[in-house]
Symmetry: C2
Subunit: 159 residues, 2 copies
Amino acid sequence: MKPIGMIHSPYQNAEDMPIQGKFRKDAEAWIELKEEYAPGLKDLHEFSHAIVIYHFHKSQREGVEGKPFLEQNKHGIFAIRSPHRPNHIGFSVVKINKIVNNCLYFSEVDMFDGTPVLDIKPYVKYFDCRDDAVSGWLEKHFLDGNPPSDVIINPTQSR
Amino acid sequence: MKPIGMIHSPYQNAEDMPIQGKFRKDAEAWIELKEEYAPGLKDLHEFSHAIVIYHFHKSQREGVEGKPFLEQNKHGIFAIRSPHRPNHIGFSVVKINKIVNNCLYFSEVDMFDGTPVLDIKPYVKYFDCRDDAVSGWLEKHFLDGNPPSDVIINPTQSR
């Protein structure tokens, strides 16, 4: 695995960052791809969203269980989205704003500045959307379909 | 990066495999996690779907452009879902059927038998679903929201 580029993000520390980019629409970031990968972005501007796969480079630990930001209960690491996981692979759906040369500008940001990027894929609603999905322990926190207001900003201890 | 487990799938070769698991509901596969990761599955059975991140281990090449299965036009590698991509990272949303010890049984399968697994995440519709997403060059192939009938089985040359 090699980084194909790096994320330039307004988030330097966890206090400022939303738990998921979708919950804070105003922030913008960009992926600066290595020059040799720039042709790989051809036609991606016709998509509204992209999947970004990256390295949780700030995580120094790895567990098989963890506490998510929303509650004090422990869950298996594969039932939460914590960065402190085997292989430290991050996954986000982001909104594409524009693509200029080797840079992809996006909103719905939940990555730290300096994050190494491993892959970018087009988000295809026909493949990737499961609007009838049941979301386990998270359901009780989204009773009206919206996140609890206190998760718009991520509490420090959660990441 | 290390494999955390392996996929046991009915698909040994590309001719039999759907282009996306969602287009063939009947097949079942399972992830056999290494024993030490079994506690990481705790509570995942309460979710209907999971995100599986894996290694496209059969791909022997890497391009910055490629032709997708649905058409003859070339697109940037980050605008298609081809396995022949930098870092060879695969991503699928799968339907969880059951979890027994260190094994996760799932349907909506589009991975080869023997695929190394890198991560499993809970699919959370509140984070991951974008039902208003625009899907670029793919839109013309899904005019009524359904895939063209000839993509239910994946043509040989496409993977």
